[in-house]
């Protein structure tokens, strides 16, 4: 019998859940978002600082604190690594790609070039109850970017 969980808890996810890249609240910052998943109590507070202007605006720094399941913590960690240095448009593209992947119920082919390590979350798409966990930090960043006005 194959482990039905292997698809969900990829080695990379379990590692990131411990690694917690980007953990900690940066200061100064341009925007902060606090998000909560009321079903399971997962929470994340995320801050982002940008550099550059207009289309050139890039993520200068990103930090988060939170509590929750390994999926939600690992996805915040992966996000922090991915977003660093990208332009706002590039970040938004990745958030959208992540959302599509997770909502696909397993039907979508993950775009590894675009998502990098985040493709490890492809397996979450088969566990609809966990999709919100995996998206939590990503939605927080999306809303924080919107709050910066860019």
């Amino acid at each position: 019998m194959t482990d039905p969980l292997a698809g969900l808890y990829q080695e990379l996810i379990l590692e990131h859940a411990k690694l917690r890249s980007g953990e900690g609240l940066i200061d100064p910052f341009d925007a902060e978002r606090h998000l909560k998943n009321p079903t399971c109590g997962d929470e994340v507070t995320l801050r982002v600082r940008l550099t550059g202007d207009g289309d050139d605006a890039r993520v200068d720094a990103l930090g988060w604190v939170g509590q929750g399941c390994s999926i939600s913590q690992a996805s915040a960690s992966v996000l922090a690594e991915q977003a660093q240095g990208l332009t706002v448009a590039e970040v938004r593209e990745r958030i959208e790609a992540m959302r599509e992947l997770l909502r696909s119920r397993g039907a979508a082919e993950p775009d590894e070039a675009l998502l990098g390590d985040a493709v490890a979350f492809a397996g979450v798409a088969r566990f609809p109850m966990r999709v919100k966990c995996a998206m939590l930090a990503w939605v927080a960043l999306e809303e924080a970017l919107t709050a910066t006005g860019r």
Binding site: K36, P38, T39, C40, F127, P128, M129, R130
Partner: protein, 429 residues
């Protein structure tokens, strides 16, 4: 007609449909059942029962709270049902939440408005103060009257109503003439459960919204019987009951237009509708969850969605036309019986498949008994509309109400037995 578009239900089609409804083959009184009481509650096709049975024996679990597979399956079924039911009435899924029945849904709206005002709401669309007015019709079902009486009592608002004429009918002009700057809520039935009168909802909505009043629609007798698009009608809130539209009992539907749903506090509080709770504070989820405290009747909701699928497969426009025809046949037939007085819209004016009559010199209960002895399940009483009946000068009427499975032959049988009632009791002799 052979246009390919089914414009009404043929006799053959109705017979086909009837085979889906096990109860229609019953003989509860030892005679074949002629069920003309669908206005009170409808009968259920096997498709609805089977959908519920499948859910309850294969996927039953508490939804939105569990991480296990069964809970995920149940949640899928639950939200898919919400989507189908929403689409059926032209609503967005988040505009649909559940109640015990339509009565409960209407109470919820009134209780939520009361709560908002106790909390000192600053939202002008919710504010009801002394001297403000709540407008209803004299023909309302108690479910769409008592909650507004109570809200008026509590807020100090005045309950006003458009009166009905000798036939139990009110007019759009008379109603809109009563809408003033003080009107905060207009609550009315889309279709009367006694007279079959069909309200001109868009006209009422236009007049009400012009003064910033909310429109609450009692859609109990419309949604089951005709295509209804709540967003297109523009009402702010609406209520209807599963058990009147081929679905199971125990589930009412509350429609709250997006803006109202976002503004209203919940009538019921408890689990599954909160974000954070401390011993002294509570924060609510957005609609629709905010209005869904406690474990919802998922099996029944799945059943209602199956009922909606069934109705859509038959076609609501065809159902509407079938019933309009039966309503006309009922009305014309009843009006032509000596000593029988037909209530409601004049012949020739569109009416739903409902006809209520007064038999001179015979109490409605006695008329109902004679009908029952012939296997005809019609309803006698005030049909939860006492003020209307008081205006008509009787304590009770005899009502026949049709549905998609009703036949011309059933209507004729009703008329035939009805015409013998006075003779039986020696009235008019």
């Amino acid at each position: 007609m052979t246009t390919g578009i089914e414009t009404t239900l043929t006799e053959e089609r109705v017979q086909q449909l009837r085979a889906d409804f096990p109860i229609l083959a019953e003989q509860p009184g030892g005679v074949p059942l002629v069920y003309l009481d669908s206005g009170a509650t409808s009968q259920q096709p096997r498709q609805v029962l089977e959908a519920e049975w499948a859910f309850r024996t294969q996927r039953n679990a508490a939804v939105h709270r569990g991480a296990h597979t069964l809970a995920a399956l149940a949640t899928d079924d639950y939200e898919s049902a919400r989507e189908r039911i929403a689409r059926f009435v032209g609503a967005r899924p988040a505009e649909i939440s559940w109640a015990m029945n339509a009565t409960d849904a209407l109470n919820s709206v009134a209780l939520s408005l009361a709560e908002a005002n106790r909390a000192g709401t600053t939202d002008p669309s919710l504010r009801i103060r002394e001297g403000d007015e709540i407008l209803v019709t004299e023909a309302e079902h108690h479910a769409n009257l008592l909650p507004w009486q109570r809200l008026a009592d509590e807020t100090g608002a005045t309950l006003r109503w458009v009166e009905v004429d000798d036939d139990g009918v009110w007019t759009t002009d008379a109603l809109t003439a009563l809408i003033t700057e003080r009107t905060r809520v207009v609550a009315l039935a889309h279709v009367s459960n006694v007279t079959g009168l069909i309200a001109d909802v868009p006209a009422v909505v236009a007049a009400a919204h012009a003064v910033g009043a909310l429109v609450v629609l009692d859609a109990c007798q419309s949604v089951p019987h005709r295509p209804v698009d709540l967003r297109a009608l523009g009402v702010d809130a609406a209520a209807f009951s599963s058990h009147k539209m081929l679905g199971p009992g125990g589930i009412g539907v509350l429609y709250l237009a997006e803006s109202l749903g976002a503004a209203l506090p919940p009538a019921r509080v408890g689990g599954s509708m909160i974000t954070t709770v401390t011993m002294t504070e509570r924060e609510y989820l957005p609609a629709p969850q905010r209005f869904e405290a406690g474990t919802q009747p998922v099996g029944a909701i799945v059943g209602l969605a199956a009922a909606v699928d069934y109705l859509e497969a038959v076609g609501m426009p065809a159902i509407e036309r079938h019933e309009l025809a039966l309503g006309e046949r009922l009305a014309a037939g009843a009006a032509s019986i000596e000593g029988v007085r037909l209530v409601g819209p004049r012949l020739g004016v569109e009416r739903a498949g409902i006809a209520s009559v007064i038999v001179d010199g015979v109490h409605a209960h006695d008329a109902g008994q004679v009908l029952d002895a012939a296997g005809i399940a019609a309803r006698v009483g005030h049909h939860c509309a006492q003020p209307l009946h008081r205006r008509l000068g009787v304590a009770a009427t005899t009502r026949a109400s049709a549905y998609l499975y009703s036949t011309e032959a059933e209507v004729d049988r009703f008329l035939d037995v009805l015409s013998g009632v006075r003779g039986y009791f020696g009235a008019g002799r």
